[in-house]
Amino acid sequence: MKELVTVKYLKKYFSTPKGMLHAVDDVSFGIERGKTLGVVGESGCGKSTLGRVLLNLLEPTSGEVWFEGENVAAAKGKRLWELHQDMQMIFQDPYSSLNPRMSISETIAEPLQIYSVYESVRELDERVDELMDIVGLARRLYNVYPHELDGGRRQRVGIARALALNPKFIVCDEPVSALDVSIQAQIINLMQDLQEQNHLTYLFITHDLSVVRHIADDVLVMYLGQIVEQCAVEDLFLNQYHPYTKALLSAIALPRVGEQKKRIALKGEIASPINPAPGCRFAPRCMYSVEQCTVKQPQLREVAPGHFVACDFAEEIS
């Protein structure tokens, strides 16, 4: 099957006063056209950085991002600018991702103006109206400013802006985390509808496993900049190999009486990604860790068809 996006050995390090921060550390994966790849992981594990590097909003330290036969990571200037027509992003924070000084319509129209998609103002207006319809924003909000809107509507504006150029691929960086459940559900539904209608491909970042389960086809579990487990979403919920994934799943509280899972307690908290120690990044918190784990870094390997895990003891543990 042809992948729309293929990522190879992608790395992004930040240099900080305290040392090199390995935000994304040697990550490879692919996303098929029309599918959704979910990315889960705890705060600070590099999810957003991954999304930004994919779009070359941040220049990767090394690695390749192939999109329709072109390496986005190497694209520069005008070419990159052109590529952005096809690759867009929806941001996590509906409050800070909209310019408070621009009205809703201005925000949505901005990409269309930048790429001079339409020649006449009328066409532009029509397209803005159309986009507002698509994401379910009433037209009376045309000249309203973001601070007058609630989170859900703001997120719709962000989605409309991302859709404006008819992109093929959208990085969704926790688009619903900041929203209340009932609003979250509205947005998730909207995004699913849009995907179906426009054959969109999503990279969907979240820390909520239930959301991944609902929306994604495949899933990546990240820990401190690295992929620890990768498989089809159904697989993950049936059978987890990596101890971190197991802990993550067991931590979910189900909204149902008397059906609580036995929780796997994790020691400590997520460590700092600055100058990480050799060996498995998860080892300090892992209940199964042995000496080997602190020395040798486990490679991602296929433990079952289409199911990749970065743990040398994956089989024994499960």
Binding site: D180, S182, A185, I188, S210, R213, A251, P255, A265
Partner: protein, 326 residues
């Protein structure tokens, strides 16, 4: 202390904030009963008035702009609303304590952890400085932080650890009631689980009653005995966990459940509640949920429904609660 008197009985509480933009009717006639030793889950979306309710119980509503306009808050049979500031101080931290939503900001950045825990001890127990310090150290260890970190400052702690310190502060004087306002929302999933577990253990150990404020129905299912669902400043459904989860009667509660993606079954679409929470400065007439309610009738539009008593202590504020809304 009479065992029959509930630990906390909030009666018809009204709270409003007066702002430039208008009067915010944050709490509109909340009734709540908590028995001793019980854990109540107070669930609702942003702006429903959960925090306001909790702060009113401690009489910590910022005044101005906030103001308790009517109602009673009976704690162990005594109404807290008319208490003097002096008297109220004796209650706070001692009989009722509170954990706030964001551990990142709930601790004073310029005081050591040790100072902040012993402060509450010295306020309520007649202990010397060193005794208080010793007690604080034991409490810190109880929440799983080594004693040698007593002299450190909040910024040297991670979010999860800070939240544990906050829990330590709240529980160190053995309060009768612990109000936890979204204690884990700001934390990561795995840390969330750790902290919740810790709270639950300590609570059972110390026999503290707890009001857990959250918008996560999963968390409620895990640790609460009774549930109160809040919408636009009102408790719209109240009952035991069993009743509310398995015998949901209010359309809003149903909507909430419908909005949550299921982890075990894959549905094609979620069934969210349409529309938005009403503007608290301009609440709709009649049932405040009616604009979003699929079962809304004329009656709902004009007259506020009263509590409908269902099975046991299960109440719902809906004309059609008894019918089951099928």
């Amino acid at each position: 202390m009479n065992n029959a008197t509930p630990l906390l009985h909030v009666k018809n509480l009204h709270v409003r904030y007066t702002t430039d933009e208008g009067t915010v009717h944050a709490v509109n006639g909340v009734d709540l009963v908590m028995k001793k030793g019980e854990t109540l889950g107070l669930v609702g979306e942003t702006g429903a008035g959960k925090t306001t309710t909790a702060l009113s119980i401690l009489r910590l509503i910022p005044d101005p702009p906030g103001e308790i306009t009517s109602g009673e808050i009976l704690f162990d049979g005594h109404d807290l609303v008319p208490y003097s500031a002096m008297k109220m101080r004796k209650v706070r931290g001692n009989h009722i304590s509170m954990i706030f939503q964001d551990p990142m900001t709930a601790l004073n950045p310029v005081l050591t952890i040790g100072d902040q825990i012993s402060e509450v001890i010295r306020l309520h127990d007649r202990l010397s400085r060193s005794e208080a310090y010793g007690k604080a150290t034991r409490m810190l260890e109880l929440v799983g932080i080594p004693a040698d970190r007593m002299g450190e400052y909040p910024h040297q702690f991670s979010g999860g650890m800070k939240q544990r310190v906050v829990i330590a502060i709240a529980l160190v004087c053995n309060p009768l009631l612990l109000i936890a306002d979204e204690p884990t929302t700001a934390l990561d999933v795995t840390i969330q689980a750790q902290v919740l577990e810790l709270m639950q253990n300590l609570r059972t150990e110390l026999g503290t009653s707890m009001m857990l404020i959250t918008h996560d129905l999963g968390v409620v299912a895990k640790i609460c005995d009774t549930v109160a669902i809040m919408y636009a400043g009102e408790i719209v459904e109240y009952g035991t966990l069993q009743e509310v989860y398995n015998n949901t009667r209010h359309p809003y509660t149903k909507g909430l459940f419908g909005s949550i993606p299921k982890i075990d079954v894959r549905e094609r679409r979620l069934k969210p509640i349409p529309g938005l929470m009403p503007d608290p400065t301009h609440l709709p007439q009649g049932c405040s949920f009616h604009p979003r309610c699929p079962f809304c009738t004329d009656q709902c539009r004009h007259k506020k429904p009263e509590n409908v008593l269902l099975y046991g202590d299960h109440f719902a504020k809906c004309y059609y609660a008894e019918d089951g809304l099928q």
